[in-house]
Amino acid sequence: MSSPIKFLAQKHRKQTAIIAVIGSIYLLSSWILNFDSFSGFTAVPRAFNWLGVNFFPTSASVELLPQIWKKLIETVALAVSSTVVAAIIALFVAILGSKATGINGYVHVVVRGIASFFRNIPLVAWAMILLFSFKQSDFTGFLALLLMTVGYLIRAFMEIIEDEASETMMALKATGASYFQVIFQAVLPQIMPSLISWVLYMIENNVRDATLVGILTGTGIGFVFDLYFKSFRFDAVGMTILAIIIVVITLEVLSNQIRKVIL
């Protein structure tokens, strides 16, 4: 038997070894990428300096605010609507697929597989694939966000149902309640706070992602960003970024407030 002292010494050696391994992985990857750490780091302040000078919004770019604002609202609306529709679909599928409320083990595995498929295709890839069928339009962006969000939410909702509703479900089943009674009276009220919390989180994320998708689909704030960028109006680009940051932070603060109230 190894004594506790020996065990602790071994643990110490293990930790040192792990740090050494991580260090070597970093060095190896820098070497592969031809990335000189030292000049890499000194370049950072210079890059920020350049950004600060060129992207600083001027009085001319302030005049663009109404247009930026209009497109930004479009983008937020796209993110919110795609997330809400995704949440409704995902809830339905998660109930059919979760171990606690689902049909059976096979359906569970299939649903998990489908969710993983939608989730693991990068958003940009979704958008480019959908561009073939739906051209540059808001609908393409909507669908791309929807598919990815459905993938995330199905998995999250299934886990929430299994973790948070299994026990109360059992209690209601034991009273003689029927399947739909159990879903409506136990599962839905029980999971509602976590469910809303996830939807809010996805909306926050999707506002950022919708900007990116907009560059590809030529809609919303992404389009404006792309337009200014390609016409070298960097001050306007800076203004656009600033507006996006303000909206994203506002949404984050807002959804944290909502979370505090519902939890």
């Binding site: 209690a171 009273t175 309640a177 029927s178 739909f180 009674q181 409506f184 009276q185 029980q190």
Partner: protein, 251 residues
Amino acid sequence: MLEVKHLTKSYQKDRPALTDITFSVEPGNFLAIIGPSGAGKTTILRSLNQLIRDDHGQILLDGSDIRSDNKAQLRKHRRQIGMVFQNYNLVERLTVIENVLHGRLGYKSTFAGMFGIYSEDEKKEALDLLDKVGLKDFALQRCSELSGGQKQRVGIARSLIQHPKVILCDEPIASLDPASSHTVMQLLKDLTVEFNIICVANLHQIDLAKKYADRIVGIRQGKLVFDEESDMLSEEILETLYDQTTSKELK
């Protein structure tokens, strides 16, 4: 009367969780099931309302076998069997009275149950039962705001509104402090007599089992090792329950 005959269950092949369990309980009686953890107490209790499907045997409630029920019959049987859980298993976000009314779901149409539409009589009865378990002033409080002992009493009220013939309690006081434990046990005992119901409770505190139960059944490794009046339970009998397992653990 509740009669359990030759109940047998294994979760995995060749590893029986229950072997040939036979006992019966009359209305107005409190039966405690004791035994080391992993002995099979939960499996017995959940078989009694078929939350777990056992392999062989009979479970007769007033002569009719629950095990041969179809879905609709099982639902009718289940509403006559209340269940109380170690972790209360309430819908924490709903109010106390809504949780009590859940006990009526087995009697309602699917639609009325789904949307929680209850009759005036049902609501009045829920309030009366809350009064009985000492929670009259808590009807509109959210369950998440209650203490453990209070939650368990909501659970008991939920089972009583089912108008049950049987109440099954799986470690009803395992998460409670000593004072609340006694309150809950006393309540269960009093209600058993008052409503002339059968109460079956899994317990691991032998002193409490002796104090509140009429009869005690001992389970070890899925087998029934004794079935005694609680006054008659001697130290020698209790040793048959724990002796071997403890000595095995010490080895």
